[in-house]
């Protein structure tokens, strides 16, 4: 299930490439352990399964997005068993900017990249649809970008389109609390503050539900988890 689609093909005659192929998973494991430790020390990374239990079934989690740490946070909050098959969706333009960022997101977090700029005849949801067909669960930030207000911005249509294509996959709203305080925009040193991820009750797209009604409903489901 774990697909590292971005890894370069191994050339058996090239020692460097072989060494790289061997070292990368080890480094990924080490870095992921380190990051888990760091995130837990700084934030506690507490998962609150309020509306549903953590289960190994295919799901689409969608959450508010206020900081780059969100990605690490929700990844760390999931139980180990779910972490491998639950893949976050990240913006290609930001997360593949440097080789390290690219390695981090593909080898450690195993994310799915989406392009935020739409090219002519390309469906930006295609990599997500592939992953869902492969049986993976998704973590989606439907605002599309980081918000800086108290409330999440209006959701983009991607969530609706996925729900339309996969009507049987449960959609789980999640609220990530406090993360923006750990590392506000423009700061480099994180500060310890307890954060939590609250998972709400599953929702499904209703028959013939209008896109705007659905997106609004999804957004209020996320927002409602703030005060629980």
């Amino acid at each position: 299930m774990k697909s590292t689609g971005t890894a370069a093909p191994v050339d058996p005659t090239n020692l460097r490439s072989r060494l790289k192929a061997w070292a990368s998973p080890v480094a990924a494991e080490v870095v992921s352990l380190f990051l888990l430790g760091l995130v837990r020390t700084l934030t506690g990374s507490q998962a609150r399964w309020w509306g549903c239990p953590p289960k190994a079934e295919q799901r689409i989690y969608f959450a508010n997005h206020q900081s780059h740490v969100d990605l690490v946070m929700i990844w760390a909050a999931l139980p180990k068993e779910l972490r491998h098959s639950t893949r976050a969706v990240a913006a290609r333009d930001y997360w593949t900017k440097s080789p390290f960022k690219k390695w981090l997101t593909s080898a450690v977090f195993n994310v799915i990249y989406v392009s935020r700029t739409r090219e002519a005849d390309e469906d930006p949801l295609e990599p997500l649809i592939d992953a869902l067909h492969a049986g993976d669960s998704l973590i989606l930030f439907p605002e599309g970008t980081r918000g800086h207000a108290d409330e999440p911005q209006p959701f983009k249509a991607g969530l609706y389109n996925l729900a339309l294509k996969f009507p049987h996959i449960e959609l789980i709203p999640a609220w990530i609390a406090n993360v923006q305080r750990v590392m506000p925009k423009g700061e480099v040193v994180p500060v310890p503050v307890l954060c939590s991820v609250t998972f709400g009750a599953p929702m499904l797209l209703q028959d013939g539900e209008d896109i705007h009604v659905f997106l609004q409903r999804a957004r209020s489901a996320v927002l409602a988890l703030r005060d629980i």
Partner: protein, 332 residues
């Protein structure tokens, strides 16, 4: 018996003390277990009983955790001990600040507090710079931190935000760091049995708190009005005096393991218990201000794991007062 104990080395004596306390805890655990097995005809009484037993179990769990940590600290040696208490400060402050809303402008001050003030304070303990240690946070940090906040150019609720941060630092770093500092004081004719002193402090304060809690529960059931019902449903002066009496008398009884004579031990225990129990009340008021009953709340999205502060707040208030009164009295 007394003679054999007296001829043991200091280390053996401390070890014996731990064995004794762990034995007592085990005994108490057994009693709580037996209490929990009791059956009732009436379901309402059963429920009330269950709740009381659960409360007691919780209290016992705290005691276990505290004693266990002190045991570890005693085993670990000076450096590891400081790291352990430093981590305690770190987690307590993390909890405190989680519920004190800070703004983006506070970020630099927070970084300073966690990664500057905290390690430096513990370094001062390690190097026994006790004069600087006692004024570093209340004087220097007090004046310096708001500068970092002011430079962040955000006037909104400036005083409130800074006051919260200062409070967090005072309680979680300053207060807590006085516990390991006790271990490094040099008493004449006490040949490095300072672990006993920390033990004395923890035991006396914890006894005071437990007694106060139990008496308050009883008084509540009898319909006795609490002294400050908006802050605490259980705090009343009668229960407080009961706790103080229990703590101080235990202190006098424990004089043998301290550098004090019984009268002095009674007075020191009294001071420590007063600071601890009233500090606990103050922390309750802070929690009420944030609208939560305990730091480790299920009710609010932002509170995380732990409940560290609930357990150590009385110690954080008792330790500095105890430290200074002891130091002043012995002229150390």
């Amino acid at each position: 018996m007394y003679q054999t104990l007296k001829h043991l080395s200091a280390t053996q004596q401390v070890g014996a003390l731990f064995v004794l306390v762990f034995g007592l805890l085990l005994l108490a655990q057994g009693v709580v277990f037996l209490l929990s097995m009791r059956e009732f005809e009436d379901s309402q009484a059963a429920q009330a009983h269950q709740k009381a037993v659960r409360n007691l179990g919780q209290l016992l769990k705290t005691s276990w955790a505290l004693i266990f940590i002190f045991w570890l600290a005693w085993l670990a040696g000076d450096a590891a001990r400081l790291v352990l208490f430093g981590l305690g400060s770190f987690f307590a402050l993390r909890e405190f600040l989680t519920l004190s809303p800070t703004r983006q402008g506070d970020h630099r001050s927070l970084v300073l507090a966690f990664f500057g003030v905290l390690p430096f304070q513990y370094w001062l303990v390690a190097t026994e710079h006790f004069n600087l240690f006692t004024v570093f946070i209340p004087v220097y940090v007090f004046l310096a931190l708001p500068v970092a906040s002011a430079l962040a150019n955000d006037p909104q609720r400036f005083l409130e935000r800074n006051a919260k941060l200062q409070w967090g630092i005072m309680v979680c770093i300053y207060g807590m760091s006085h516990v390991p500092a006790l271990l490094l004081l040099d008493f004449p004719h006490y040949d490095k049995k300072n672990a006993f002193l920390v033990f004395f402090l923890v035991l006396v304060v914890q006894t005071c708190m437990v007694t106060q809690h139990l008496v308050a529960l009883r008084l509540m059931r009898l319909g006795h009005a609490p002294a400050a019902p908006q802050i605490s449903q259980s705090f009343s002066w009668r229960a407080w005096w009961a706790g103080m009496a229990a703590g101080s008398v235990l202190g006098a009884l424990l004089a043998g393991i301290t550098p004090f004579v019984p009268g002095q031990a009674f007075a020191q225990a009294f001071i420590a218990c007063a600071a601890g129990s009233l500090g606990h009340l103050v922390m309750k008021a802070l929690k009420r201000d944030r609208g939560i009953p305990i730091w480790h709340g299920e009710g609010k999205a932002v509170t995380g794991a732990g409940g560290m502060l609930d357990r150590v707040d009385s110690l954080c208030f008792a330790a500095p007062v105890f430290f200074h009164s002891v130091r002043w009295y012995f002229g150390l």
